[in-house]
Symmetry: C2
Subunit: 104 residues, 2 copies
């Protein structure tokens, strides 16, 4: 069993969104993505049959999925196939906990 | 894309822990488990090659894994194979968000 205190996962980088893998296995990968305000992950997609779920742990941003923009905030969970075009832009310090199943 | 507001997932039942499936697919299932104080899920295990991750959204309880007890609290994430014996007992209103990959 592994345990993580999420409040300790609040590191950021001024140069790019900070990605940290917490757990990795053949069926599940868990990561954090932390963005400084203005940092973004451009819209992209993956040619894989996998699901991604992300939980916003803190902050706020704009989540683009297919052709629509949604404001994302702490306390919201979002789930989609990784094959759908998706991207993020932080409007404040944005912290996300990401579950990828299966990893690819 | 599906979106959930986690603060809205705070229902409980006086008769048994309340289980709600938020999302289900061949590679990932997402559920909430909400316990009233004193409610428990007895120690059990699953004969499956899958990982379970659970995030404590609120409250406190005792998590038994293999032979050790851990106090779990809001803001902690726990990950383990479903084949490890595990159980829960709530000491306050306990809310958990559970990721199962793959479902079985």
């Amino acid at each position: 069993m592994m345990a993580f205190q999420l409040s300790e996962m609040a590191q950021f980088s001024s140069t790019a969104p900070l990605r940290r893998v917490l757990f990795d296995s053949p069926s599940l990968r868990i990561l954090t993505f932390n963005f400084e305000p203005g940092q973004e992950m451009p819209v992209h997609e993956h040619h894989a049959d996998a699901q991604v779920a992300f939980l916003v742990l803190g902050g706020e941003g704009v989540f683009t999925c297919v052709d629509s923009d949604t404001t994302i905030q702490a306390g919201t969970l979002h789930v989609m196939p990784v094959s759908e075009p998706h991207g993020f832009k932080a409007t404040s310090r944005l912290r996300m906990l990401v579950f990828l199943a299966p990893p690819f």
